[in-house]
Structures are given as C-alpha cells and as structure tokens.
Symmetry: C2
Subunit: 306 residues, 2 copies
C-alpha cells in the first residue's frame, strides 16, 4: 500500500456564487463538502489508479467528524490520529460564470506535543507496511517546523521511498533530510532557490538534498532532474480548465509509477497526462479517465543535457 | 417571556483576512463561530436588557448540533425544532485593515411539509406563554412563502403582539395579516413600496397592513408611523462602525419597550441608542453597554405631522 500523510487535513467546502464582489452580500447557490487536504486527494487518485492507499495525519472536532464520515465510504483507509482541536475548513468560492476561484483557508487546529508524539507512534507501524509514502501540505499550528525532516528520516531509515510535497520553511527543512522526491511548482521552487528559471532552480533544489526534483510548470508540463537523467515532459497542447488538484494528481502518478518500478520517462508521462486530465475534469480534484487514456500516448518526453 | 422565531437559523462564521482579493488564495488569521440568525441575535440582546427570551425555528445536521451547543450556555431558552436537513452556515469575511465585510450566505436546509407542521405544533403553546413575538429573517427552502402571514395570524388570534422583520415577498405577504409592527430598513421599504422617501414609504407600508412601521435610516436613526403619532428619532451624531446586528438590536429595543408599555418616544429612544451602541461595539452584533447608557439622554425625538 501507499501511505499519504496530511497533517493539516481539511473539510473542503465549495461555494458557487454568480460573482464574488468584495464587501457585498452573496447568496450561495450551491454548497459541496468533501474530505480534503493534499494527501487525501492523492490517496483518492491512487485508488482510482488501482493502488491501495492509507491516509494518516490529524482529524478532530465536529469538522473532523464530518471529514471522517465523508471519507468512510471512499476507498482510502482511514488511519487518521484524533486530536482535541477542530480540523480546519477551506472554502473555495467559485464564480459561476468564469469558474474563477477565491480560496479561504482556516489555519488548522493547535496540535499539542502529546498529539505530535501520538502521531509519530502511529506513523512507524504504518511505514513498515508501506511501499512508498507521501508527505503532503502545510503544517498545522504547534507541529514543529522540522516535522517533515523527522518524517523523511524515519521513512529513509525504514527503507521506504518518500515524496515530500510542501512549501516554505517546512520544505527547506525537509530537504536537508534527503527525501527521494520533491514536486514543487514554479512559485515554490522560486521561493526555495531564488531562481525563476525552472531547470536551474530544480538543479539547485537537488543540490540542497532531494534525490530527484520534479517541478510542475502548470500548463507546460514538468521538468525532472533525477540521478538517472534530466527530462522535460509536455502535454500535446496547453490545457485550460480548473487546475485545483492537478498537483495532487501528479503526486499520485509519480508515487504509483515509482511503486510499479517504471522508468522515469513513463513516470513523467503518467504525471503529465493525469494532471491534464484533472484540469479538464468538470469537478475540481477529479480526473477525466477518458482524457487520461487519450493523453497518455500524446505526452512528449525530451531528454535534456545533465 | 419574549419569543423570537428564526426559521432559517445559521452557524455564523467570521473570517478575518488581511484583505479579500477575488481569485486569490487567503490564509484566514482568525475564525469565530456564533449561533446566528436574526431572531437568535434579538434574543441575546433581549436577555442583556433583562428580559427572558425563548428562541424557536429550525435546526438540523452537524451545523445545527454545533449551533445548539454554542447556544446552550447562553441565556435564551432553546425551543428549536429539529429537522433532517443541515442548518446553513453564513460566512462574514472581514478585511482586517478597513473592517469592510464580504458576506456569503448558504441557502439553508430543505424543510419538508411534515417539518413545517411540526413547527406550527410547537409554535402554538410557545405563543400562549409569550408577552410578544418577533418573526425574523429569511425563509429556508420548502417553507411556504405565506408562512409569516400564517404566524402573524396565529399570534393575533392568541392576543400576542407580533413584530415582523423580513423582506421581499415574505414581508409583502406577512403584511396582509396585519402585524403590530414591522421594522424595515430604507432598501427593504423601497422594494416594498417603490418609494425611496422613507416617511412616505413608511406611511404606504402602514396602509398595506402594518399597525405601526419603524423604518431604520442607518446612521440617521429611525422614523416611526404609528396609530399614536409619527416621529423621527436621531442619534446625537451619525455613528461610524460595524453596522452588523444594529437592526437586530433595534428589534430587541422595540420589543422590550413594547412589553414594558413605554410610550412611543421612549421606545424609539431605546432603539436608536441601542442600535448606535451596537455599531460602536468592537465585536459585531454585541452592544457597548456604556455607550448605550450615555446615548440614551442624547437621542432626539421629534414629532412629525401625521
């Protein structure tokens, strides 16, 4: 099975309004509620790709109870650790006419030192059953900023390949523990390295500790800097739609193809096709299976000089 | 006791953000949760004024459970009727720098015919114990648009003074049942009567069925058209601050002073002072008790020709 860690899970609400106007009052036409947080999204895509997945992290309060209730009928196995604080809500306000989205993210529950210890105790046996692990998203208040470095080290000690998908200081610290793979987007990479040139920034990120760096370039695909080579993977044409969840789909593609021992060009092909099929899907965070199958043979992977 | 009816109760969330920018992502700095809906706000102010209050209406789902949990330690008595659907959330997004607020209101649960009947069954014995009743806010989906007309008629049949505070078609229909008092603001009055001249519009609204009309004019105070006379009541100077809840405070002032058998000028003085003290309070919907006491002797009430 593939383990995904989401320390700051979320109850994701989507509000559809005609148009968001600051300082006005809006009647919400449609409300949807989903269990969320990057690792939960990754796990859902993994199960759609035929992999067993287990989700861990924290859940608490009434919002945590709703999240677990919504997760229960889905395929990923719930190994979330209960906490006293309340799981955060995130609200995506979608303008009905254009599909443009305004995002409001609560900060998340305060995690105590005892709760963090309880998580570490739960993490170890889960790791021992895992073929790979993904560490996903922001840290809730109270979790040490070096948390991901600790979780990366434990995965490496257990011999489990580890992907780190976060940003800012948790990414910077996590890199030092030498994760197998990071998947920053261009903004995250620029914040980490100071360079807005993706290939150069990805090489720099690799020097900082990641064994491999797959940088997402939005509609233009991915660049990968790995011990086996450097590649650029591009979709047949730039894809327009709702990019929510495209990064999580790329993580699921990279993890599943890693576990399947595919060569890098195949991993990148899957990641680009699955991201594009997620952007094309009408529901944010889902992927269009037909588009995915159709895109797979059309992704172009080009080897670049090291 | 004073009964307040809130058919579309709400779990009111307030999100503080640095500044709301459409189509951007925001980290919410501060989240507060309150039991809400106009009638619940009115009841809280009534208890602060020393009156017993009972709240009824609908509550359901996880959000309804949270609402009742937050209501339990407060003074108003919970006589809410359970429903299968979920109580709506409302989200007030406050720009930290300016205090400007963007409002997102979920529509509310679908109410079945059986649930509406259950409400009517609960309403009758509550009415018989009430010294006055306030019917507050919007109707959730499924409640007949003539609901307030029905509730006004039942109150009048029971000999209980009834205040109707709603807008649009529910107000138009409710008026025909001859409520003792309505408290529209200038916009609601204009929509009802087609006139933006408040005194003229208030007189027109009275002809449509209300025994008395108190129209709120925002920072300029109130005009009242009643069987006993016509008055304008103004604060000593226009008040700046957060107007959220000022209308609910005015309703509580009018109801409490009606039950206390105060003459109209005293009722209007209380309503203006309490509204202004609500605008001045740092927390939306609370009132500043010191400001209220200080404002009371400063409100000017002027008798106008009928």
């Amino acid at each position: 099975m593939i383990l995904t860690v989401t320390l700051n899970t979320a109850l994701d609400l989507t509000y559809r309004v005609p148009e968001l106007v600051p300082h006005a009052s809006h009647r919400v036409d449609e409300v949807t509620e989903r269990p969320g947080g990057k690792g939960l999204n990754v796990a859902r895509v993994l199960t759609a790709l035929g992999h067993e997945s287990v989700v861990t992290g924290f859940a608490g309060g009434r919002t945590g109870a709703v999240l677990r209730e919504l997760l229960a009928p889905l395929a990923p196995v719930d190994a979330l650790v209960p906490v006293a604080g309340s799981t955060r809500r995130t609200i995506a306000v979608v303008d009905a006419a254009t599909g443009d989205t305004t995002q409001l993210n609560e900060p998340g529950p305060q995690i105590t030192a005892a709760e963090w210890e309880a998580f570490l105790t739960a993490y170890e046996p889960l790791l021992r059953q895992a073929d790979a692990v993904a560490l996903c998203g922001s840290l809730p208040p109270g979790v040490p900023v070096g948390a991901y470095a600790d979780l990366v080290r434990r995965a490496r000690a257990a011999g489990v390949p580890v992907l780190l998908d976060t940003s800012g200081e948790p990414l910077r610290r996590g890199l030092a523990a030498r994760p197998d793979l990071i998947k920053p987007n261009a903004d995250e990479l620029a914040r980490l390295t100071g360079s807005r040139e993706p290939l150069r920034a990805a090489r720099d990120a690799r020097r900082r500790g990641a064994h491999a760096v797959v940088a997402s370039l939005g509609p233009e695909g991915l660049v990968a800097v790995t011990p086996d080579g450097t590649w650029q993977a591009t979709p047949p044409s730039p894809v327009r739609g709702n990019p929510t969840g495209a990064g999580d789909s790329a993580v699921a593609a990279l993890l599943s193809s890693l576990v399947e021992n595919l060569p890098w060009p195949s991993r990148l092909t899957r990641a680009v096709a699955l991201s594009a099929a997620t952007v094309l899907a009408p529901v944010a965070g889902e992927f269009d299976a037909g588009a995915y199958e159709a895109l797979l043979p059309q992704v172009r992977v080009e080897s670049l000089p090291a």
